[in-house]
């Protein structure tokens, strides 16, 4: 009898690898973010710890781990500490169907896209719990914003993704990548430019990055939903945010930018390159733009992005039918 099915071993190894990938990328992204910020502001950024500040994120992580975990007075302890975990855990399964290369996909699922989008929705719950549990008015306001924003932006995001799925006729990320050519003009972003822009905008909003970082808008809400978190509680939110950025950009790479394909040798390195280009663009946004206002953010979603994405979807469907 073989008690342990081979599938299970596969998944366990995959999750371990994904955890490693997320952790490592989190560290790298923190460094990239701070370096980009530094250079945009004409200063060196982190420089002291390690060569060119490369070890700075490690030092920061050590600092965060070493900090006292503080539970505010009158907070709902269970909810308060559940929130960072709920925020971070769903990140792992989101990486499973990510097609780094044809051979480097943790789990082939033919509804991979649905899996990712479903788990992405959980993040809103985490922010809501965090704001609610911490017995802080700023946290509450931040949670309210997070829910309104997350729910609103999920819709155009889904619709723009659907347009691509219509074209390929599949919900599997691997198949969508396989359907695209090797050269940049054979990728989906040429056929679906509007969907690409919509997706990226919504992705920025979904991950609460500037200029849509309203749930944590520090000049208005101090730190929004994570005002009361210290140490690793804050660290987990932080890591989850970066992991979600990677997911959003990874999906964008697979859907619109041809995934692992590229001129010359196709492979995981093309995927990572494109992923990081998108990430840097996202970071670049943050250090350039002021923050939008809350009502404007929702207006933008309901009045512009949603109609546009529906229109885009209809046109795509029409073209495919013809």
């Amino acid at each position: 009898m073989n008690a342990i099915p081979i599938e299970l071993i596969h998944i366990v190894i995959a999750i371990a690898l994904v955890a490693g990938f997320v952790g490592l990328n989190g560290l790298v992204l923190v460094w990239v973010e701070r370096k980009v910020a530094g250079h945009v502001q004409r200063r060196p950024g982190p420089y002291e710890v390690g060569p060119n500040g490369l070890l700075q994120p490690l030092a920061d992580a050590a600092k965060l781990v070493g900090k006292q975990l503080f539970t505010p007075d009158g907070s709902d302890k269970l909810v308060f500490w559940l929130a960072p975990i709920v925020s971070f855990l769903p990140v792992m399964p989101m990486f499973l169907p990510m097609p780094f290369s044809p051979f480097l996909t943790a789990m082939e699922v033919n509804v991979g896209l649905v899996l990712i989008l479903a788990f992405a929705g959980l993040n809103i719950l985490a922010l809501c719990l965090a704001g609610w549990g911490s017995n802080n008015k700023y946290g509450l306001l931040g949670a309210g914003r997070a829910v309104a924003q997350g729910v609103a932006y999920e819709i155009p995001l889904l619709l723009s993704v659907l347009a691509v799925c219509f074209m390929t006729g599949s919900l599997s990320l691997t198949e969508i990548v396989a359907a695209q050519g090797n050269w940049p003009w054979q990728w989906n972003w040429i056929y679906q430019p509007i969907a690409f822009i919509l997706y990226f905008t919504c992705g920025v909003a979904e991950t609460n990055r500037a200029p849509f970082d309203l749930p944590e808008a520090e000049s208005e809400l101090v730190a929004g939903f994570h005002t009361e978190y210290s140490g690793m509680g804050f660290g987990l939110f932080f890591l989850a945010e970066y992991a979600e950025m990677i997911v959003v950009c990874g999906v964008a790479t697979a859907l619109f930018l041809g995934g692992w394909k590229g001129p010359g040798a196709a492979g995981a390195w093309w995927f990572l390159l494109k992923l990081y280009v998108l990430l840097v663009i996202m970071i670049w946004f943050r250090w350039t733009y002021p923050r939008t206002r809350f009502d404007q953010l929702l207006n933008l979603c309901w009045k512009w992005l949603l109609p546009l994405s529906i229109l885009n979807l209809l046109v795509t469907a029409l073209v495919i039918k013809l």
Binding site: R42, R43, G144, D213, E218, S219, P290, F294, D295
Partner: protein
């Protein structure tokens, strides 16, 4: 485990208790400050909110009160000058000038012409640095992180320039009763002349990065109306008044020193919103550059301090005098009363920020929290100046 929470602790301090009276149902009392990131120091605003909308706002002042007025009563006339560098740390030279001007008016001291020009140059440079810092900090309030670094880069040059004659980078006490403390030599003047085109080249870049940015425009346009009537009621001056469309400026309306010999405009915008106030300040930087350029060209040779300038044991003649200058935030007035002794009998400091802040409570009613931050920033508060 049951916990009892001290009821006094829940009720809050005096301000919160008073504030709670007459509240509506379903509102949230939110304390913004005294340690909130966008109140720039230790201002506290008690907000009554309906969701994200502000029903009522009440600024609570006094966390940074340092009794400058009282200190004046025990210091010598000369010895009070360093205090004037610390009332408003962003535009200390306007305060320097108001105080020096008031005492000079009281004692009938004539300031040498070169000193007048030096005062104009230094004050205008200081105004630019004050506006630059406001610009950066305001955008920080609005969520853009980068501009403040660019602003500091330019400010750094200004501080280097001003450091040589004044000896300080922030809290200047450069003026003396009857002149200024030190001369600006050729090198310093040349640095200033080099700085003018440098900043002129930088300003369009900032316009591209920030002023024209659609997100910023959407956030500022039509937000925080403060019209002329409101300004009159609260006594608002400076960029707020000019942003309401009234081109009123102490430098020309009650002209002092050599400002009437220099050709410059008073920018004013009639839109009365936060964007108008923003534009006024940006245009004022350009106008200040113009003033500095002309003043450097016109500066005569001569003394920088009158002969027999007041010493620390100097006694002012009995009487009283008032002198107002245009600071970066509005009209800076100092009223000096002397009984003929070594130290002033009474000094009253008129801080523009104090009057300007009183508009906030009215202007922020019914706006979103994010708008309140935008309005508060557009007032350009310096808390030490408001509390004195």
């Amino acid at each position: 485990m049951t916990r009892t929470i001290n009821p006094d602790y829940i009720r809050g301090d005096l301000y919160t208790q008073r504030f709670e009276q007459g509240k509506r149902e379903n509102t949230l009392i939110l304390n913004m400050g005294p340690q909130h990131p966008s109140t720039h120091g230790v201002l506290r605003v008690v907000l009554e909110m309906d969701g994200e909308y502000i029903v009522r706002a009440e600024p609570v002042l006094g966390y940074l009160h340092r009794m400058h007025e009282k200190m004046a009563e025990v210091k010598s006339y000369v010895g009070f000058m360093p205090n004037m560098g610390r009332v408003d740390y962003l535009h200390p030279l306007a305060w320097n000038w108001s105080y020096a001007g008031a005492v000079e008016r009281l004692a009938g001291i004539e300031v040498p012409r070169r000193a007048e020009f030096l005062r104009v140059i230094a004050t205008e440079l200081n105004r630019i640095s004050s506006h630059l810092l406001w610009w950066g900090a305001y955008l920080l309030d609005l969520g853009a992180f980068t501009p403040i670094m660019y602003a500091f880069e330019d400010r750094e040059i200004l501080m280097d320039i001003l450091q040589r004659p004044t000896g300080a980078r922030l809290t200047y006490s450069y003026f003396r009763l009857g002149g200024v403390g030190a001369d600006m030599d050729e090198r310093c003047l040349r640095q200033i002349l080099d700085f003018v085109p440098y900043l002129r080249k930088k300003l369009p870049v900032y316009k591209d990065l920030v002023t024209d940015n659609v997100i910023l425009r959407k956030r500022l346009e039509g937000v925080g109306d403060m019209d002329v009537d409101m300004c009159r009621r609260y006594g608002a001056t400076g960029p707020i008044l000019r942003g309401a469309g009234l081109a009123s400026d102490t430098r020309l309306n009650e002209t002092y020193s050599v400002y009437n010999e220099i050709d410059f405009d008073i920018p004013s915008f009639p839109e009365t919103d936060a964007m108008a106030r923003y534009m006024v300040r940006i245009r004022e930087i350009e106008e200040s550059l113009k003033i500095v350029e002309q003043a450097v060209a016109m500066i005569p040779e001569g003394e920088i301090l009158i002969k027999g300038a007041p010493k620390p044991n100097w006694k002012a003649p009995a009487g009283e005098a008032y002198f107002a200058t245009e600071g970066a935030r509005g009209k800076v007035g100092v009223w000096v009363v002397s009984d003929g002794g070594k130290s002033p009998y009474r000094i009253k400091l008129r801080a523009p920020g104090f009057s300007n802040l009183s508009l906030f409570a009215e202007a922020s009613q019914g706006t979103l929290l994010a708008d309140a931050v935008a309005i508060m920033g557009s007032i350009d508060m310096v808390i030490p100046e408001i509390d004195r």
